[in-house]
Subunit: 352 residues, 4 copies
């Protein structure tokens, strides 16, 4: 049994990894750290955990927060992990960070990201950027292992777009300058904090586009697709919110390259994802949607070609709190410690 510390335990990202660890056969929670609700049992904040996890939230300065653990999940906003990571790493603790702090390997690429979200472009721990691994497991599996010290867990939109487009870009099935990512997210992606746009009466029968001037996840999508393409590329990206709790559905488009057929597309996707447990492929008549990945770590892809207009069309579905957050984080932890990849994650979800 490895010991796990969760920082930012009181948010949706914290409770998500807590729930998953309840069912993990090889890991147990050592402590729950946060800056608010210190002293309050987590099961008071989240009553569904009553009897499962009644640990109190403790502050970062609490002696118990400094006892040795094997891994720390930083379920914290941008800017927190970069300050706390050095001490954890020094103590030999592996770090899995949810934010954008460790998704980039250079200070330049981090600065571009930080600027997009209005933060200081200077990284607090620049020496940790080169060794950080981008935690989209399916693409970086070989870098995620016993020697990995720090993982930058991917953004939720990014997971859906990169997994949806990776085979097409890798195999040059599409023209790179024609990519459009039309993404719809459920509300839980915005986290636990109430705000005007996610107040129930303002949201229950409302859909809207937002951050039209530019969404920060574009940086990591373009970087990852660029690596696969072997050349820099730019995507058009539209973020939208719909009245769903959990779920991202990204509709991804690109003009097919010359001579590419629907069969080429289908076989490229099958080949690329062969043996990847958490990516499932479906055809356009399958009738799937976001509820079919809810509560699970799966990415379900509809692989389609619109022959009339010669376009690739991928519909990519994930649960933003699972494959888009805590699920990917746990999948990465499993790889870091040599556990079976599906430990704590082999559940179909509940329907309806």
């Amino acid at each position: 049994m490895i010991k796990v510390k969760i920082i930012g335990a009181g948010g949706y990202g914290g409770v998500g990894i807590t729930e998953l660890l309840m069912g993990h056969p090889r890991a147990k929670i050592a402590c729950l750290v946060d800056v608010t609700d210190v002293g309050v049992p987590i099961s008071k904040l989240y009553p569904h955990l009553t009897g499962f996890c009644d640990l109190p939230i403790i502050g970062a300065d609490d002696p118990k927060a400094k006892e040795p653990v094997d891994v720390v999940f930083m379920a914290t906003p941008d800017g927190v992990g970069m300050k706390l990571a050095p001490a954890e790493l020094k103590a030999g603790v592996k770090v899995i960070d949810y934010s954008g702090d460790f998704r980039f390997n250079s200070t330049e690429s981090y600065a571009e990201y930080a600027t997009r979200i209005g933060r200081d472009p200077k990284h607090a721990s620049p020496e940790l950027l080169p060794p950080a691994v981008y935690g989209l497991t399916e693409l970086h599996r070989k870098e995620l292992g016993a020697t990995t010290r720090i993982v930058g867990n991917p953004g939720c939109f990014a997971v859906s777009c990169i997994l949806g487009l990776a085979p097409a870009v890798k195999q040059r099935l599409i023209r790179f300058n024609s990519i459009i990512c039309d993404c719809k997210t459920g509300v839980s992606g915005a986290g636990k904090k109430p705000s005007a746009g996610f107040h129930y009466p303002a949201r229950y029968d409302h859909m809207n586009a937002y951050k039209l001037a530019g969404h920060q996840h574009v940086c990591e999508i373009e970087r990852e697709l660029g690596l696969l393409a072997g050349t820099a590329l730019k995507i058009a990206f539209t973020a939208q919110v719909v009245p769903v709790c959990r779920g991202i559905m990204s509709s991804l488009y690109g003009e097919l390259a010359d001579g590419i057929s629907a069969d080429d597309v289908a076989s490229a996707y099958r080949e690329f994802y062969r043996g990847q447990t958490f990516v499932r492929l479906f055809d356009r008549d399958s009738g799937i949607g976001s509820a079919h990945v809810r509560g699970t770590n799966y990415c379900n892809l509809i692989v389609d070609v619109d022959a009339r207009t010669n376009k690739l069309r991928i519909i990519s579905h994930i649960d933003n709190l699972m494959k888009g957050q805590a699920g990917s984080a746990l999948q990465n932890m499993n790889l870091l410690f040599g556990f079976p990849e599906t430990d704590g994650l082999n559940q179909p979800g509940k329907y309806p």
Copy 2:
């Protein structure tokens, strides 16, 4: 006061026009016709109408259904209007049909549409196709007047896409072969009839794409845009359903033509919609969404350019049951009888 007959009165399209006529100063309902629930007061089917409209549903053979009226709304599925229209027209009654029966002016174009939805490609009243006017008021205003006898009310997705793209296509702001329409609809667009995909437990937290093999509204969108472009064009179109009751949000994309700036785009849209009451333009920071047109006849457009990727991006919002159906139908009726265009429609909706 003109007299109005509603055929298909028991569906959402029927109740929608009934509600609007309650507040119309120059029109009154003469009778409500349908094939089911004959003899049942409409207010028994729709209790919110109690005291407002307690007329019974009558069958098409009821003598009252044959008393003279000025206009008939055919809130009926495909294939019904084409059979009933000739008799109405012969009696001097103007016909406004909700279905695809009169959206096309030639038997060939109708056949293409009919084939898409799995219907007999042969039109039952082909002689009525040439005089039929496509009822997207903003584009066909001049054809909608005292001499118009028959109107083919537009499809809901089509309204949102055509209004969103018309200025861009007309002014050749975009490359025609690059158009993508990514459309999300609320559930009421599927009508009153229960089905597996719209059962509450299957829908409340679920979004999905459907009819990926081809949606029938593509025909009228391509036809109308082609007329504006002066050349045939094809669009990529994706229909999606989200757990919203009323609302369509269409995200419309196209590659900007050479030398087109964001300012060119903005002024083209302003110019095109000058004086059109029911189209409102917003910029990308306006924070609008589908709830802001709910219950109204407005089409709200966010006009945007993604300079990074040189793309036009329009976010088009309508209420599918209003501007997408009964609202447009009433707007057309107003023009046919020379009434103020906003009669019965000048309401802001209720929020939240």
Copy 3:
């Protein structure tokens, strides 16, 4: 045309009365006052009002806020109206206040209410309590007229319970100490301000009881029912929230008094509400629910008797923002100025 001032214009109560006044033939808005968003057009806060009402929010100190008007709606929280009302009344302006400030006629009864909600039990303008009229129109119609200067608009739960029980209490159909009010409200009743319990992810699939220690609306329910009964009485009351935007459904129970039959009950209700436009009676097989009053000023009552257990059971439905707030306020304004009671309110709502 009378002139109307709205204080607290930026909240749901403010926008509700603004929407209604757009359709009122005898009243127009003079100015919109609030403490936040001063200078911002109301249509920027509520984009659905674009083109209907683009007035800016102004501060209470703005000279325009002091220009003469005929009536002021105070769509403000508890404690505000009692401070602002004296100056308005002095200027000859009629006051309709949404809060609990003027729902009580004595300092003692106000103090009890104020204590329940944790406020100072001392009323700031005690001289205004005796002349204030409790604005549940159906019960206080005779007091609402040209000489009325100040109206305390009723609480939303209170409207549903009092209208549901009034005939039974008045006619002594039930044992007074057996009354139970089991009330479910939609979320809009909590207003515009975001909070943890009304954050979409926490609410979309969640129902819960709250304020079990005592809800403040009990005071006015017991007072009004006591007046009808001719004796003090106490009710058991449970407030619950369900994932609905607009709507209150109150299930009201009482043991039938000796010898009271279902027919006695039905005729007592019919008699009591004869000629009251905004109360509609239904039987238990009618299939009605909260959506059938949504967006309207109606109270729909299912009048029922459970013969097996000898209990009266009333299911009372209102729209909490209409008959439970702005609708009642406008109905009261109509009476104060001698307008037809249904002015601005004669609409069936939109379904679905």
Copy 4:
């Protein structure tokens, strides 16, 4: 590993037990039987099961449906289990039936129930009624063991009401003729079949009472409470639907017997449920609601007294598809085979 057969596998009750068995360490599914969709893999009907359970639906006449198993879940409507059970029992298979077929021990009590739901009052296998055990585990634990052959799984409303009231009735804390059960259910309780009342547009913002003339679950509630009371009793019961997918919240009222204090109530409940894993007690300030039992087998009770009116008030929460159906069924299976009671059920659910 015991072998399990599921009859009625294609409905919500079938998929619920299928999901749970995926995580059960001592039971595996042998076959899935149903009358519709024969030949279709369950994962085609419920795509979230892809890779977890891809067994095809088979007909009852399929040879595989007759291979030996240890237990059969009859996730079937009323009237099916009573016909199929004899053959299963003869083959030595234990039967757990979801419907009302085996909830009653006499033909008379069954007849009363059957009449309420408009079915033939004659039971098809009357000899199986006396040995059938009512599967509300917490109350009938001693009867659920190795020798039990047939279990009548309880109705969902009944579970919430009986667990909520059992201690009060057993300890005579309340006057028996004063009991009121005001129950709100989510929509999944109505099953998979689409219908007008559960069509998304008709349900998303709608709450209503139904079956006011009498709900069939009253029979088993009165029977079980009567057994605890040692005397026959009658309850007033109101069924209501709200726009929630999973969840029942029952507000339960009774007049306190003479001399009963809040402390008496609290200790009676604590004592009654001591050691019962799946019942959790909360006080009125706990802030719990239906989402906190969603996806789990727990019954969460708020135990409260309204001292002002001398009333007991219990707020009882369950997931209707879990403790109200498949969860209870699995809990019963565990007892029948001597497995740990929590096998396959020890999960906290996912929030939000």
